[in-house]
């Protein structure tokens, strides 16, 4: 059966979509945590490769997520520029020294590569999980984690509103383009000013929608903190448990290896 997640329309359900909602959230947190802890390029490369493999398991059409690549490339550029131009990481050979005192060594290159891998791991894991999560997963995931329903509701409404906001953004931008405003030409300042002028109609539309939504919410009987029941029921299955244990063990091993050294960045002794 096909399903619509927060970002995508998936052709059919997969082991990833069938996970317990709270486990999806936990996985998202743990993978990001592990990527943040790791500093060694090889384990990070393995983590990135595993995440890419999971895209296949989750049956996510790669064509549909290609649009995120431009954004990823921007991050890669930003990371590279900041490390290449603004760092002082000692190495055996220094290739370039800049007038402002920073330099590029072979360790700089390795560290920049490692940081890019870390971003990749975090981005791929987050994309993977958000691409397999529904609004219902977020609501129930947070509820099963014993967070207040008001928080789940606000988060789910934010995702829903995002779609409407993007739609409004495109329409307002189109209308302004037809009246001679250019968002692609001119200096950076001009373009920034043009984008800023989008804010007026978008703010007015959002305020109007917010007022109407508050009426709808009130007329659906939502109150903060009141007793409520839930339409769906999720049970923690055996594979959920196995994955939870695996993630727990993985996190523990990562912490241990980071503490003992193997997951630290290999170039650090040089800095010392």
């Amino acid at each position: 059966m096909s399903m619509r997640t927060l970002f995508l329309h998936l052709p059919k359900e997969s082991p990833m979509t069938k996970l317990h909602p709270s486990l999806k959230l936990i996985t998202l947190i743990i993978i990001n945590l592990i990527a943040w802890i790791m500093e060694a390029p090889i384990p990070l490369l393995i983590l990135v490769s595993s995440t890419i493999l999971c895209f296949k398991i989750a049956m996510i059409p790669v064509r549909r997520i290609m649009r995120f690549f431009r954004f990823i490339l921007l991050i890669v550029q930003a990371v590279l520029i900041s490390y290449l131009l603004g760092s002082k990481i000692p190495g055996e050979s220094v290739y370039i020294t800049f007038p402002w005192g920073t330099y590029i060594s072979e360790t700089t290159l390795l560290y920049a590569f490692t940081m890019i891998l870390r971003f990749f791991a975090m981005l791929f894991a987050s994309t993977l999980l958000l691409a397999t999560m529904t609004e219902r997963d977020i609501v129930y995931g947070l509820v099963y984690l014993h967070l207040p329903y008001s928080l789940s509701f606000v988060v789910s409404l934010a995702f829903k509103t995002m779609g409407v906001f993007i739609d409004d953004f495109i329409k307002v931008r189109d209308a302004m383009t037809l009246r001679g405003v250019s968002f692609d030409k001119g200096s950076l300042l001009e373009r920034a000013k043009n984008y800023a002028s989008l804010g007026v109609p978008l703010a007015v539309l959002s305020i109007r929608r917010m007022i109407e939504s508050s009426y709808v919410v009130a007329m659906r009987g939502l109150t903060l903190g009141g007793r409520r029941t839930y339409f769906h029921e999720y049970k923690f299955k055996i594979y959920d448990l196995l994955l939870l244990v695996f993630l727990g063990v993985l996190l523990a091993i990562t912490l241990l290896l980071k503490w003992t050294g193997p997951l630290s960045f290999p170039g650090w002794p040089l800095r010392r």
Partner: protein, 538 residues
């Protein structure tokens, strides 16, 4: 006996005018009440007062009493009122909060802590009542406008309220959507007390037990639908159903058979056409082999060839999703065709459906001056041009007002003015009359007609067939990204099979005309009246 009792209700918004000025109304159990009136007459305010949202969530000054299902709305908690009253709003996008139909219906039940088994039964029942069973797992984005409104109705129904209020539920919908909503209401009639505020009087009069006319915050007339439209003022700002209008013009001949008798002869030679004809001139727009595919793979336009002549007034019609707006976006250059090409001879401007997407300046003056400044005109010239444009659209004197404080019809006219400022030769207007009352519709359409008479090429995208019949010389019918018919409006409206294929219902008077004079196509009440007058004269 009565589900709603309103006594001398007055309401003034905190920073606005008095919206209701002494309303008295009683609604019987199981009654279907229609509220009609021009925009700004207080219809929405009255609906909000009956739900308790006013005064509990809106600031202002309240006088009088509103009792709903035995509860005083000023003294009862909103949560308790909600168990008895449900409301469906105009905009289907805003009122759907969840990401599947099923979850949307379950949401209010969860809020009232209804046990899961009971919830399942009620969700099932509400889906059945609105015939939405097969869409239970659908995302709101995947539904049509009519289906979204049915979900909103189902969501209200799930709480099994005694009273259902609908505030202009069909304003944003295409003809299929409107029919879906009214069919749903028809099925619910008698089981609930239903109150509908609407501009769509022809549909409303079929189902309502009683109609009230609201004007300037007061109920100025109420009656059974069969009598109501014979008694209200023609200039009341309410659309009088075409057959009743004809009957009134004929001196209140209420018996349609009598009208049939009056025109029962070969009348082809007597039709005095009041609607415009197509013009023959140079090409203003030429579309060849146009195909447009969205990034998600949806084929929006599939091989369109089209030529629009200079000075033509063309209507583009078809169900939602047929590719009308995409075609317009390709013509104005907002979208790049996947295949084929578009050639435009002359400056082109487009007015969007929602004026709020288009207005972004601080004052009405600035809004009109914006395009002119971009064209490099001197400030003196701009001043003169803005004054002229504002005069044309009837907004003179409002130069220093902030656009977002204008009423919707004025914002719509300002959006047209802002587009006109750049002096386009071709003007595309997407749904110019959505949510407008009869007077506002006439004002906007007359403005477009005047521009057309001055030589502008006009292309409108609309669901309002009365507007098409009266104003457009040429009509293009689209379905599934293709043009399925293109020709003079009279010819198109004579082809009921094509209209049916595109799920379009011609104007009431055209259908009536076809029944009594099959060999001719009547487009407006005035044309039919002329026919009858000729017969009377003979």
């Amino acid at each position: 006996m009565y589900d709603i009792v309103i006594e001398n209700l007055r309401w003034k918004y905190e920073d606005g005018e008095e919206a209701l000025k002494g309303v008295n109304l009683k609604v019987r159990k199981g009654e279907f009440l229609g509220i009609v009136g021009p925009n700004g007459s207080g219809k929405t305010t009255l609906c909000l007062c009956m739900t308790g949202l006013i005064p509990q969530m809106v600031k202002g000054r309240w006088e009088g009493r509103v009792i709903v299902d035995g509860m005083d709305v000023t003294k009862t908690k909103l949560r308790d009122i909600v168990r008895s009253v449900g409301i469906v709003f105009q905009d289907p996008e805003v009122q759907l909060l969840k990401m599947t139909v099923e979850d949307e219906l379950a949401f209010p039940l969860e809020n009232f802590a209804v046990p899961r088994e009971e919830m399942r039964k009620r969700v099932e029942w509400a889906l059945k009542q609105t015939r939405m069973e097969e869409y239970r797992m659908k995302h709101p984005f995947e539904l049509s406008g009519g289906q979204k409104q049915r979900v909103a109705i189902a969501s209200v129904l799930a709480l099994t309220p005694k009273i259902i209020i609908l505030d202009e539920p069909t304003s944003d919908l295409d003809p299929i959507g409107k029919r879906e909503v009214f069919d749903t209401l028809h099925r619910l009639k008698g089981k609930h007390t239903i109150i509908v505020a609407e501009h769509e009087t022809e549909e409303l009069m079929k189902y309502a037990d009683r109609l009230i006319l609201l004007k300037d915050g007061k109920i100025i007339h109420e009656d059974r639908p069969s009598r109501f439209f014979y008694k209200i003022d023609v200039d009341s700002g309410v659309h009088i159903p075409q057959l009743i209008m004809l009957s009134r013009l004929l001196g209140n001949v209420r018996n349609l058979t009598a009208i049939r008798e009056l025109v029962k002869y070969d009348s082809v030679k007597h039709v005095r056409e009041t609607s415009p004809k197509r013009v023959e001139s140079e090409e203003a727009v030429k579309v060849s082999g146009l195909k447009f595919i969205y990034p998600d793979g949806t084929i929006a336009i599939n091989g369109v060839n089209l030529s629009i002549r200079k000075g033509e007034f063309t209507a583009l019609i078809g169900p939602n999703g047929s590719g009308k707006t995409t075609l317009c976006k390709c013509i104005v250059g907002l979208l790049k065709p996947t295949e084929g090409n578009v050639k435009v001879d002359g400056r082109i401007g487009m007015v969007f459906q929602n004026p709020d997407h288009q207005l972004f300046c601080k004052t009405v003056y600035e809004e009109c001056a914006f395009g002119l400044r971009r064209m490099g005109l001197a400030e003196e010239e701009i001043k003169e041009a803005v004054a002229d444009i504002l005069k044309v659209v009837g907004l003179s004197g409002l130069e220093n007002v902030e656009p977002f404080f204008l009423t919707k019809d004025k914002r719509q006219r300002l959006a047209i003015a802002a587009t006109l400022a750049t002096q386009p030769e071709i003007i595309i207007v997407d749904e110019p009359t959505t949510g407008q009352d009869v007077r506002q519709t006439r004002d906007i359409m007359d403005l477009l007609r005047r521009l057309n008479e001055k030589g502008k090429t006009i292309l409108i995208v609309t669901h309002d067939m009365k507007v098409v019949a009266k104003y457009a010389g040429r009509t293009i019918v689209m379905k599934d990204g293709r043009i399925i018919a293109d020709g003079e409006t009279r010819d198109i409206f004579s082809r009921f099979d094509v209209l049916r294929e595109a799920s379009i219902l011609p104007p009431q008077i055209t259908i009536f005309g076809r029944k009594i004079i099959p060999q001719t196509t009547v487009l407006t009440v005035e044309e039919m009246y002329e026919l009858v007058k000729v017969r009377e004269h003979e």
